[in-house]
Amino acid sequence: MGTLIEAKGLSKSYGSARALDDISFTVEAGRIVGLIGPNGAGKTTALKALLGLTHYDGYLRVAGLDPYRQRDALMQDVCFIADVAVLPRWIRVHQVVAFVEGVHPRFRAARCREFLARTSIPPKAQVKTLSKGMVTQLHLAIAMAIDAKLLVLDEPTLGLDILARKSFYDALINDYFDETRTLLITTHQVEEVEHLLTDLLFINRGKLVLDTPMDRIGERFVQLITTADQAAAARALGPIHEQQALGRHAFIFDGKDSAALAPLGELRTPGVADLFVATMQGGRQ
């Protein structure tokens, strides 16, 4: 399968603001990667670079292609959902399906109609008459019927209620993802993608602050839950983050030996949300 995305020293400036600052990472085929960061961290800029929608400095290959110069070829292999609201409002459901079938050689219309049949979207309806959740379902049904090497989702559930968000990710995992697909998802809502990712990329102020497979988080990071009287001892061991709640102290350590921490309290693998807060706030303390 090999490497699908390769970025080396990827940078992008808007005036004096560094939207991407010397970012390097690779994404292997068959992974589900979460590109996670607070608003304005550079997530969308990174995606635009990957999709050939913006100029950048540095080295970047997606599916073996230079996204900026070989954009037309790239769109044969890569599909993206920019965000929930970008389907044209005037188009009808059956028209957009027919159109994508006409222009996309990897689109399987029968599969798309099958997905749509499971929803309550009327085939003759105009997009502007559909609810936000339905528009997202429609867009996802189209994207899932495309045999793309890479599917990029940029804040795909923004503005959706919790039921719509859940059914979105359920459909994605149950009906679309298999070992031949690669998914790149950006979001700032960490909790809802935590359980489906295989890899994490944390980005903050244009810099990559964490790049790890999910199953390696436990090897590197540990969360210590302890009481106030042990807090000073824990602090002396150099946690990257500390949090207090209801009389308990929670510390997150990066690359510390569990044996040294175990006597101080209860150890566990931090959740992605805790890790997110730790890595994003860590530098400020």
């Binding site: 913006t54 970008v86 044209p88």
Partner: protein, 330 residues
Amino acid sequence: MNAVLESGKAVAGAVHAPRLRVFNWLVRRELWEHRGIWIAPAICAAIILFSSAVGQMNLGDSPTPHGPGLAVNAPAADQWAGVALLGMAVPFYITLLFTQFFYALNCLFDDRKDRSVLFWKSLPASDLETVLSKVFVASVVLPLVALLFTVATQAVFAVLAALRVGEIATQLGTAFGPNAAAAAHAFVGALGSPQLWLADVLTLLWVAVGFALWTLPIVGYALLVSAATARAPFVFAALLVGGVGLAESLLFNSGWFVGQLFQHAVGAIVGLEHATGGPAAVNAHGYVPSVSGERLLAALTSADLWVGVLVGLLFIGGAVWARRYRDENT
């Protein structure tokens, strides 16, 4: 095409849709989105037919008593019929000037405004193909639609005239004398001539070609503004044109730019006159033989026309570039 599709499914590697098929769908998309393509000429046709029907009814109420009488011979009736038909085309092409300009001005802007450009750009149709599909609609589809509506309106007019010729001739006869009644019959008789209709359709086809070529720089300019402006394409387009015109008149005290603009806009409609050779040709030779290869060739060798086409192509190239490389900061 089927063979290509089948092999495309079998081979998972480099798969490409046939480019002609993609282009066909891009054009179809434009027709879905822009309903005004049909609505504007339909309104135009309705107004022409309604006013001509009302006009026919009011003939009898004319207060003029017995006039001098009209001497009508067969060639004159042919001329009148031809001119009447062609005259009906003028409102369609004036309407076309507006629908074409506003179509081109908005077609690359609207999808950027509502961000659906990000959906179109997620599909394997290149920006070159997208822009060319819009040029095709503006400069080929729209003039042909105008042609179709013109001919349909002419035909309905002719049928209405034939159905009511007796009544109208009687009214005219009462008002202006027997010659006028004969003229009405001669006029309607001329409208039934296949030769007249052949010449009419050929003329209109020529007008459509001339229209597309004369207005290409205007279409290209509108597309470029549409693809490049951050907001308000009309305001931007108008200010730029007004600014250039004003600057020229202030700096050089000349009106070349505005003159060119007028020539290309109105030249499109004046193509009608180019094709028919103008009133002089009608008077001298009658209407039917007026669409001569010689005259068409003369109109096609105008340097202004081809310089305009070249400028239009440069603008279109600029629009493709802007569509491809403009960084949408959304």
